[in-house]
Amino acid sequence: MKSAKVQFIVGILAFTFVWLWIRFPYEMLDGIEKILGHSNQVDPQTLHLQGEFVESNLGTAVQPDGSVTVRLIAQQFNFVPACVMVPVGRKVRFRLTSADVVHRFTIDGTDQALEVVPGHISESDFQFNSPGEHKTPCHEFCGAGHYDMRSRVVVVDAAQFPKVGPEERLNCVSR
């Protein structure tokens, strides 16, 4: 049987815990992400050596719930992979980081405009409602090749979207 004192302390701690979640929800979630190792920070100089943005992990990945995650690196002067394929009607999460300077990933024909800052991961969720091809120009001046910095998002019907295993990544770059 707990003493009144212990109950009081537990009560204060519980109240504080609930209050922190109500008052600072995003900071609490960020803290939990850091503890779990899901930090939003990356080292732009070593993206190709380890972590989420190694080149073998770029492109379209399909989550267990059917939603789609597209990982791209923004660099002077292309977004890689330069062509990514996504399905119509499913949630697409774009995750980008920069290997060098600030870029802005925009998708023509949509309201998507994602600032991509070196050292951080930028994320945005979107759903395409019809098939088609969208160019993705960079909209933040990033150097001499900025005006030519453009890649593509190809949106296909669900029937045409290939089956992608958990360890596969999809892109539509032609070799």
């Binding site: 190709h48 073998s56 660099q75 002077q76 001499a144 030519d148």
Partner: protein, 227 residues
């Protein structure tokens, strides 16, 4: 916000080199004289003055230190394939790479009629010159091809991007082919594989021949061929 734990595909690393302050310092701090001594064996293929007589063998005169240092490391690590160069890089000590880079970076590039060099070659037919010049200094925004000069100089520079101003055209064309097929895959974060696969065969040939004629420094519209 919580990134679902994804299994990742097998890890593929293009190059073990990352451009940190430490690696840039290491690549830039070689000894020129020591590099000259080591380079005597390189001269057999790359020429006495850093200009090769074989159009498929790259010229090394005035090569960027970072580019040369990285490529030698990549040859040693097997990230760039070449039976000959992988053996050469393995026989050298890692510290030799910076010395060689320092030596070759200092070599002049002015013409020498006594030197049996392949560079420059005659310029390409004028029909292709304008197209090549446009790609080199202006890129192609519709396809997302940045100008070569934006990374390879002179309008911009990227660490590890070699100067192409005095490079053999046939060698450039060969490397563009290899990048576009993915056979060469040591470009960090895939810029060259991306760009090379966007270029047509004619464009690869045209751009390479333009550089190989010594025209790569000129702004668009100022071709040595005239209008």
């Amino acid at each position: 916000m919580f990134q679902a734990a994804n299994s990742q595909p097998p890890l593929r690393i293009p190059s073990n080199i990352a451009w940190t302050d430490d690696t840039i310092t290491a690549a830039s701090s070689g000894d020129v004289v020591r590099g000259l001594v080591i380079a005597r064996r390189c001269m057999r293929c790359h020429g006495q003055e850093g200009f090769s007589s074989d159009p498929l063998v790259p010229n090394l005169a005035a090569m960027d230190k970072l580019a040369m240092w990285k490529e030698l490391n990549d040859f040693r690590d097997g990230k760039r394939k070449s039976p000959l160069m992988q053996t050469v890089a393995a026989e050298l000590e890692p510290r030799d790479y910076a010395d060689l880079a320092a030596y070759y970076a200092m070599l002049p590039t002015y013409p020498d009629s006594q030197d049996p060099r392949s560079f420059p070659q005659p310029p390409p037919p004028s029909a292709h010159t304008a197209e090549a010049a446009r790609l080199i200094s202006g890129g192609d925004g519709q396809r997302g091809i940045p100008p070569c000069q934006a990374c390879h100089g002179p309008i911009g520079h990227k660490n590890g991007a070699p100067s192409l101003i005095t490079q053999n055209g046939r060698y450039i064309q060969e490397e563009l082919e290899e990048f576009s097929k993915g056979n060469r895959a040591n470009d960090i974060n895939m810029p060259m594989r991306t760009i090379a696969s966007l270029l047509s065969e004619d464009e690869k040939q045209g751009v390479a021949a333009y550089y190989g004629a010594g025209l790569g420094n000129l702004p668009a519209g100022a071709s040595a061929m005239g209008k």
